[in-house]
């Protein structure tokens, strides 16, 4: 695969301009540390091991929440997509909960669950559940009924019908949900990590604020951005692999 540098032109140019402005002392270096200072700070934190610990903790929270919320959302989506009865009983309730901004639950979550890991994982799981649910549900519902009829005529039923027709047909939509959920996952995590804690990228940023370490604050924001991009790249890779039959996914 040939690497394409074009998407990175704008970020690189912006960083260079930023560095120049700080060097020219147009703006205060203590409020806007230069990119090089941030790299240096990052390097120091990396060398003493702090950075990896914090990233590791944050990743653990993000992925655990994603896994729990994703599985619940997927199962509910499949269930309601396949069964009219299940849809009638469950969908209204799910839609009501979905319309509560999950971050508004933070005070309640702190009171009920506390400020430990559980609370953060719970919030992430709750946040990612709905985009996965909605897209899985619509994916299953929108599978071409003609293909389902054909499948039945060719002896597919139950699990084989699901595996060969319904799931692959719903997959493009499920991936849209997954990529959207990844965005929600990071967003939720950033907010959730401002709940008092002493580990994680959110802690790194909150703690730095106390000491006016703008370089550390910006560093943690950049790491969030990079992790977000990385997660999206992985999802995209999975999408391209799984949907290579679909002409609109092959380049």
């Amino acid at each position: 695969m040939k690497l394409d540098f074009r998407p990175w032109v704008i970020p690189v140019v912006l960083v260079v301009i930023w560095e120049i402005i700080v060097r020219l002392e147009v703006i205060s270096a203590s409020l806007f540390p230069s990119p090089l200072t941030i790299v240096e700070t990052g390097w120091n934190l990396l060398v003493n091991g702090d950075l990896m610990t914090h990233i590791g903790v944050s990743l653990w929270r993000a992925l655990t929440g994603m896994l729990i919320g994703g599985v619940i959302g997927f199962v509910l989506g499949v269930l309601n997509g396949l069964s009219k009865k299940s849809y009638i009983y469950l969908d209204t309730t799910i839609q009501m909960i979905r319309n509560i901004p999950h971050l508004a639950l933070i005070p309640l979550v702190i009171v009920w669950i506390g400020i430990g890991e559980d609370a953060k994982i719970f919030l992430v799981a709750l946040g990612v559940l709905f985009p996965i649910y909605v897209n899985t549900f619509h994916g299953i519902r929108n599978v071409d009924p003609n293909l389902v009829e054909m499948g039945r005529m060719y002896n597919l039923k139950g699990w084989s019908l699901f595996k060969d027709v319904l799931l692959p047909g719903a997959l493009p939509s499920i991936f849209v949900g997954l990529r959207y959920a990844l965005g929600v996952m990071w967003l939720t995590l950033i907010i959730a990590e401002t709940i008092p804690t002493n580990e994680g990228l959110g802690y790194l940023a909150t703690n730095a604020r106390e000491f006016m370490q703008t370089d550390v604050i910006i560093l943690s924001i950049i790491i969030y951005a990079l992790l977000g991009k990385l997660a999206d790249l992985i999802a995209q890779f999975g999408e391209n692999r799984a949907l290579k039959w679909n002409a609109s996914y092959t380049k």
Partner: protein, 262 residues
Amino acid sequence: MKPEAIQIDIKNLKKSFGPKEILHDISISFDKGEFIAIIGKSGSGKSTLLRLVASLEEITAGELLFDGVPATKSEANVKMMYQDSRLLPWKKVIDNVGLGLTGDWKAKAEEALNKVGLLPLKDEWPSTLSGGQKQRVALARALIHEPSLLMLDEPLSALDALTRIEMQNLIENIWEKNNFTALLVTHDVGEAVRLADRIILIEDGQIAYDEEVNAPRPRKLTNPALIELEEKILNRLMHGEEEPLQVSETNQGNSLKAVLSN
């Protein structure tokens, strides 16, 4: 065991969707191994009849028998080819052909693909195939099950003229070599005359016309008797019963034998 073609008996069959009756009291029998073409204008109920025989719709009243057994209880292997090929786009050609089979089916699927002349394309995605190729794959997918009844729901109507002729030859060829009853729904009278042993015309939910075609196979499109028959049926289709043509007075079973020769 070699699959056996089935006999189909339809007795006083009715089909309604809500208050609207689409098929009124249809009674007709199709012999084992017969190639029947059902023609009619759109909305005449011809596709509904096909879907009823395929058990894709429920019968409102009447009986549908396969070899004397009610279709719902029959073990008969019924397969269908649709107007759109309905290949699964996420499965390679060979996996589409082997759909619904268990055990070691690869060799059988390759054989079926070979019969329709598409073995070299077995590892392609369906999206890379032409319309005619897709229908060939759909035909292979049906053949691999060795059906006793093959239903063809306007399978060639979306193809260009040349591909259509090729496919007609292929279908005729395969039908001659295998033992199955074939039920073709088409709005192309020429196609019906070219392929069928017997042509049924459905009009307003009733059998308006039932005629045997006795021309020897392979049939030539230039056969004057076939051209005459085609014109006659087209006339009947377009102008209804007022036309001074010899058509059946009663709705069923009154087949006019067209004496045809090459």
